[in-house]
Amino acid sequence: MSLIEIKNLFKTYESGEEKVCALVDVGVRIGRGEFISVMGPSGSGKSTLLTILGGLNHPTAGEVVVDDISIYQLPLERLADFRREYLGFIFQSFQLIPYLTVIENVMLPLSITERSNREQARMAGEILERTGLKGKERRLPDQLSGGEQERVAIARALVNAPPILLADEPTGNLDTRTGKEIMELFKSLNAEGQTIIMVTHNPENAVFSSRTISLRDGRVDGN
């Protein structure tokens, strides 16, 4: 049984008179432990697909089923809970909270759980060690290099051990060498069983993944 099932997904944006079809009849199944690259030129609908997968963007038609839950049939507040329990987000350009330290940024998803401060710090400490940031817990994001910031973003996405990791151009703001390091980290996470869905337009990144979904003009080109 697949972890994620996307059925007949349509997304249409309306801007004034104009209708833009971002996704047209997309159907995808993703199994547990897969590392998927979503590729396609800009405007192909890959970012839209990621936000819909991320429970942030209601589709015009179709269904997204994760772990037997049809997520867009959930009430809005329950959908937020779903994001917290199932998803780890890695945004383009890191999106760290500037006034929170590294460890506080990582603890962010835990701050709305019942976990004690001590427990939160333990979990954040573990994942920071795993992402190679030990010793930088008390720094603010602007005191870190781009690669380090990306690692904080990854740590934040993984801290509550979500079944699915969603990444949007994770190497987009990094130099080639750092980008490669991040990809290595993704690969080793995937080797430990982490399901990863990554949007990228860089074919070099795609080689790390186990499968590539190509989008063109809102349709699945082949997989």
Partner: protein, 386 residues
């Protein structure tokens, strides 16, 4: 980490803007507290003056004669009128319904005596009551304690060449002068004071009373009501309230209170507006951040809690500083405005709690819309970079 840590850290980051936010609310609270404190000082000032004023109710025999006056020489002839009050009327005053408002009841009997060829008004009083009524009296010597002692008004002592411990003969009765009043500038200077029963006897009018002065507390009960109740108990007497200048002072205070409320409402509205615009700006500035929170799995209610916590913290700080500033301002401006020499520092816990509560309430209420607005932000729009 908890939600409150996010709020606190955000406030710390935006120190400059938060400072003005707190300042806006603080000014409002300061104004309210200053005005309340000043009007309280004024009230206290007036209450003190009321106390000093002595009697505020006068009980006289019901008489058609208009010339009856308490003071000077004119009183003599009238007080000898047949229809006087009576000793038995005195306790009745303390039997009215609002008797707990009655402070002092001081009966008096006035007549004229001839001493060493001079006509001098003689006033019989109960010295215990009279002494309490006329707190401003300064006496060389002491208040009379026995029936054969008298107290002389300053002017009388001068005219008779008498000083403390000298003796006087009143209608054949010898009395010792226990004390002489310092000049009061009032009719008291022209009177000889002696014990009520002694004067009644000396003037051959046993049990007769010319007038009764009453001092009542009027804070809890309007003076008209006390007057009304005494009138019912003493139907043969004419009971009047002494109001005059105090009345106008009270009216002035009332106007000041209304003015204060008006100013307070305006200043607080401005404070609320400052909080509102500042919070709105803050929320719009943090669109992206709120988008991240939402994407991570924060509920709308979590976002609102962050905003409300910030408003709460700002409100608390503004409440405390506003109260302290208001207290300080009223302390320095109050005496200037009222011509008082110095004012005690009074920390009123209920006023302090009220200030903090009001400040927090305004902070939170003005943040309702910004918080709702924040919680409704579309996370995909906030994370446009996705």
């Amino acid at each position: 980490m908890k939600l409150k840590d996010i709020s606190i850290n955000n406030l710390r980051r935006r120190k400059g803007k938060v400072f003005f936010l707190i300042l806006g609310l603080t000014i409002g609270i300061t104004t309210v507290i200053s005005l309340i404190s000043i009007s309280r000082l004024m009230n206290e000032d007036i209450a003190n003056k009321l106390d000093e004023y002595g009697a505020n109710i006068l009980v006289l025999p019901r008489s058609d004669d208009l010339s009856l006056s308490y003071g000077g020489m004119s009183i003599g002839g009238v007080s000898l009128d047949a229809r006087t009050l009576n000793d038995s009327d005195i306790p009745k005053i303390r039997e009215i319904e609002v008797r707990e408002n009655i402070n002092i009841v001081s009966p008096k009997f006035v007549g004229v005596v001839e001493i060493e060829g001079k006509k001098i008004p003689l006033m019989g009083v109960q010295f215990q009551e009279e002494g309490r009524l006329k707190k401003w009296w300064k006496i060389h010597g002491a208040l009379p304690k026995n029936r054969d002692e008298a107290l002389l008004g300053n002017e009388v002592a001068v005219r008779l060449f008498k000083s403390t411990n000298d003796h006087l003969t009143i209608n054949g009765r010898k009395v010792r002068i226990s004390g002489i009043l310092e000049e009061t500038g009032s009719q008291d200077d022209f009177l000889i004071y002696a014990d009520l029963s002694f004067v009644q006897e000396a003037l051959n009018k046993p049990k007769a009373v010319s007038l009764i002065e009453v001092s009542a507390y009027c804070n809890t009960c309007p003076i008209e009501e006390i007057v009304d109740q005494i009138s019912k108990k003493l139907p043969h007497a004419k009971v009047t309230a002494i109001k005059q200048t105090l009345q106008t002072k009270m009216e002035a205070l009332d106007h000041f209170k209304k003015f204060s409320i008006g100013i307070s409402v305006i200043v607080l509205l401005i404070g609320a507006l400052i909080v509102f615009t500042n919070m709105m700006a803050s929320v719009n500035e943090r669109k992206r951040e709120i988008g991240i929170f939402r994407a991570i799995g924060f509920r709308k209610s979590h976002i609102m809690r962050i905003i409300f916590l910030e408003a709460l913290i700002v409100g608390l700080i503004a409440g405390v500083t506003g109260y302290l500033l208001g207290l300080g301002i009223s302390h320095f401006i109050g005496p200037m405005a009222l011509g008082m020499k110095s004012v005690r520092w009074v920390i009123d816990p209920s006023l302090a709690i009220g200030a903090i509560f009001l400040s927090t309430l305004i902070g939170v209420l003005s943040s309702v819309y910004p918080a709702l607005h924040a919680s409704k932000m579309d996370p995909t729009e906030a994370l446009r970079a996705l």
